[in-house]
Symmetry: C2
């Protein structure tokens, strides 16, 4: 069993981006980070993104509207950022507090600045294999992890657990593309799937993205499979100061010995998501907003 | 074995639409049909669409640019139709002759008039389960065929053969939706799939859309499966005046006895595509162009 070290791979990408940004003449890429309210997880995610941006030489602009902001006010804020020629990428930290309409906000972002890849048009572009769009960061990060771990999906059976818009559907579309490294046969499973273990046991590459701690057990995994664990779940742990620890969707200790390669949680997919956000921001700076 | 009679089901939909259109006050729905050049298959498809429109009470406007039209001229023509408030739907008959850029033309159509459902935004909306968009006609027709034949995909394994933008990818996304009738577990196979028969034999519902005559043989199909044959292939037949006949992607005679339900070719999916085009056109008239 070989560990797919997301931290190391993300660090290489960040180093590459740093060099790339150093060579950009004139204005450096700028990422606007919009965080509504003070949800602790959101605070920590935005902090991490800001820190990584600084490391690369990407300017970040932090915007912190109060939790009471209205839909119309938030849309007006997005419109301003869309119009601002010094802003290359716009990220609205998810989840937005109720009653804000998250999908409407994601669609308000100029698709050419949608570095999170949540806009309808960018989702459609993944299906169309059009590289002028932005693939959402977690699925794009998974493809990078696989590619840099020498996992070629061609002729492989890729089983995706979860049909979310943020991970399940876009990773299925990416794995299916005709590009080098992709060309996988893809199955998408979810809460309504019957005989789930029978299907997951066929996976040469199993991607777990359902958000349930330790859902994937050893009997669900084929010997020699590659396992990508997208889950980030908090479970109580009295031995920690915080009172909890983070675990994935995969029962790592039991599953890992059966696999050829597996990602840990934390330190697997997570750091890749931030790295790909930065990659998209640099791409947005180079492409310009008019896609 | 029960035959899924596309002709009959399409006729019911057309009858429903006729009633719906009769109740529309004011201007009747109008479909612009753009056919570039004189490809015989395109001529016959456009004729069929025109005839069905007339039957329903949908106005059609036939536009026949010469095969020599430039990309810029064709885009200008689309822009005119986009701006024309008396046009609800725009269909550009595929395939466009070389060297026209078909995808660029499809994207030029106002998404709110894109009754063919080929625009990037409408593809993304299927993934987002947003019903304000237009699902492309063939996959939408397949979902209707299944629904009206009492095939509920929930808990079923749906295997799609083919990853095209027009059929394979959108039908996978539709089958996967959380709506009543959908919720299928979906596998997408294609030219790079290994052990294809092993996968197709797991299908409770097998959708063949690869465009190869008689590709699906009896040994690839499970007893009691539902088989949807999207293929329309010409094979030589000296007993016909035309010198050819149309066959599907499925070896019908050998496969049909094993199935619970199967579509014939012709008379299966084909007529549904035209019916769904009309359904989208009526929807466009009712929604207006501003989606």
């Amino acid at each position: 069993m070989e560990l797919i070290e997301g931290n190391k791979i993300a660090a290489s990408i960040i180093a590459e981006l740093k060099t790339e940004v150093a060579h950009i003449e004139g204005r450096k890429p700028c990422l606007a980070l919009v965080r509504v309210g003070d949800d602790p997880a959101s605070v920590s995610y935005v902090k991490k993104k800001e820190k990584t941006a600084a490391e690369i030489g990407v300017t970040s602009r932090i915007i912190l509207p109060p939790v009471t902001i209205s839909q119309a006010e938030l849309e007006a804020l997005i419109d301003e950022l869309n119009a601002d020629e010094t802003v290359d990428g716009i990220l609205v930290q998810s989840p937005l507090p109720q009653p804000l309409d998250e999908l409407a906000i994601f669609r308000r972002v100029n698709p050419g600045k949608d570095v999170d890849g949540f806009h309808t048009l960018n989702l459609g572009k993944i299906a169309q294999e059009d590289d002028t769009g932005f693939a959402s960061c977690t699925p794009a990060g998974i493809m990078e992890l696989l590619g840099r771990s020498n996992v070629d999906l061609r002729g492989k059976h890729v089983v995706v657990l979860g049909r979310s818009l943020i991970v399940g559907k876009p990773i299925a579309l990416l794995a299916l593309q005709k590009k080098a490294g992709a060309n996988g046969t893809v199955t998408i499973c979810h809460s309504a799937t019957a005989n789930l273990p029978e299907i997951t046991r066929q996976a040469d590459v199993l991607i777990a993205a359902i958000g349930r701690a330790h859902f994937v057990t050893a009997d669900m995994v084929k010997d020699g499979a590659v396992v990508i664990d997208v889950g980030i779940n908090r479970i109580p742990d009295e031995s920690r100061k915080s009172g909890y620890r983070l675990v994935g969707d995969v029962e790592f200790d039991a599953v890992a010995p059966k696999t050829a390669q597996i990602t840990p949680v934390p330190g697997g997919v997570g750091p890749m998501t931030v790295a790909m956000l930065m990659k998209n921001t640099v791409k947005a700076r180079l492409l310009g907003p008019h896609i």
